[in-house]
Symmetry: C2
């Protein structure tokens, strides 16, 4: 993405300038697509910064695919810093004005789910993990997992339960959620306790992650010494017990597709609305793909 | 963090190996603290990888401060890829076994809040923004903002309301939340609608971000054409109207400090529990610092 524009001041050593797309905040976004010598890149960057400064450009974003790792040092030398990285690229950023930058922060949270799956006998689906802090403790816990990038919380809960135990489920509600900090390097964690209704009964345990999986009387789960002693586990067990008796209202998911086609799910206490939603602009999510496709 | 260990096979060219701390997943974490020549680093890395392979090491994490950007290319040449980056460092990672890696994913979500602040006259605190998509539209909206890294959702809501409008508040409940995807590069967004009770009445508008701020009858807010036409805004307005009539139960925050001293807030429907929590292991959060400190 080096264009044919020339610096008029210099007819001997012609420097091509970087071009990108302008964003709606007075900034410019550049993606390096072709291999370049790092010295040449440094020269091009200096000339480009000079031009951006004249034009009043604010933030400059450079997306550098990992195959162009040879250019990282040159960008840092010109004052760029790291904004974020994904496995295949590094995003560098520079703020040209002399004011404090107003660049948006990087993603700050990981999202996880715990699944409360209760069958018609009022038994809860529980597992024993074969790694991590619960390994060898004999503690029976709710199936848990991480929400993938771009995945809905309700979809992740259904997926994790099926992956770990083979049980197919329908999403009902979010019963509670916890925010905790410094969960992973400097990042925070949001953990959603989800109630699901089973659509099948026979457990097929995932061999890699689980020591055991079974249906267990809810009271037996809640009475485990580890659960009783841990405020978080104890509170969640109390919430699940209230839900088991049908005396607890959580947040139900309703989806609307925005004009740009984005998935967009709103979770709220639908029972307390004057006119509870059953259809309309926001529709109750129907994860039917899980009922029919497998 | 290059130690004194030598490769015994080679007495002529002695290569020092990288050392770090072992993690609980069979991996090793290294932080580069001193400046190094990139060729030397490449040699050291190759020898170290060879030793890790012999020892059965799984994941290798290298934290590379931005002042050592000269070493990025050498690490990538040895097979490392980017895990994540923060402004001042890049985290590179390598999976040594021939199996698929089980390294944890990077943070996937940004978290935002919208504040529903309602006074004793049942008026809602609303603002008009002077930038972004609402600039010049005349739309009155709830104050919104981004939750900072390491910040509790309830603290962020109180902070944003005070920053934007000067109104001091007490946190009441989370009324609803929305998950949406591809909100920022590939990242997702979790947006929490928070109810707060005002502790002061006089608005002092933030000049930088806001065109205007005022108290407005809730029905007038909800009747705005933009709100009526947008399913998300309309649903949130309906939830807020239900809350205004005290007929809606959201999720209240309760905090417990874990043994490691971590902040840990659980949000749930406290009114529906058999024995609603008012104290005990999990305690109702009391953001008193905002009442007294300012």
């Amino acid at each position: 993405m080096v264009d044919e524009q020339r610096l008029p001041e210099n007819n001997v050593q012609q420097i091509e300038l970087l071009t990108g797309t302008e964003d709606s905040y007075g900034g410019v976004r550049i993606e390096i697509k072709n291999r370049m010598d790092s010295n040449v890149f440094g020269d091009v960057l200096r000339a480009s910064i000079s031009q951006w400064r004249q034009k009043g450009t604010k933030g400059v974003w450079i997306k550098l695919p990992i195959q162009h790792a040879n250019l990282v040092e040159a960008a840092v030398k010109e004052g760029f810093w790291y904004h974020h990285a994904e496995p295949d690229y590094l995003m560098l950023v520079l703020w040209i004005p002399k004011t404090a930058h107003t660049l948006p922060a990087n993603a700050s949270h990981r999202v996880g789910i715990g699944a409360f799956v209760i069958n018609s006998k009022r038994e809860v689906l529980v597992v024993q993990e074969n790694s991590g802090r619960f390994k060898g403790t004999g503690v029976w816990k709710l199936p848990t997992g991480v929400v993938n990038e771009g995945e809905d919380i309700c979809t992740a809960a259904i997926r994790e339960v099926e992956e770990e135990t083979g049980i197919k489920t329908e999403f009902v509600e979010i019963l509670a959620f916890r925010q905790s900090h410094k969960a992973f390097f400097t990042k925070s964690d949001l953990f959603f306790v989800c109630m699901l209704q089973p659509l099948s009964t026979e457990i097929q345990k995932q061999e890699e992650e689980l020591e055991a999986a079974q249906w267990m009387a809810m009271e037996e789960y809640a009475a485990q010494p580890f659960v009783k002693k841990n405020p978080l586990f104890d509170s969640i067990a109390n919430i699940c017990l209230a839900k088991k008796d049908m005396k607890y209202t959580g947040f139900s998911p309703f989806s609307a597709t925005s004009s740009s086609g984005k998935t967009n799910i709103l979770y709220f206490n639908n029972q307390d609305l004057k006119q509870p939603l059953s259809s309309g602009k926001y529709k109750k999510t129907e994860p039917v793909q899980y009922k029919n496709n497998k």
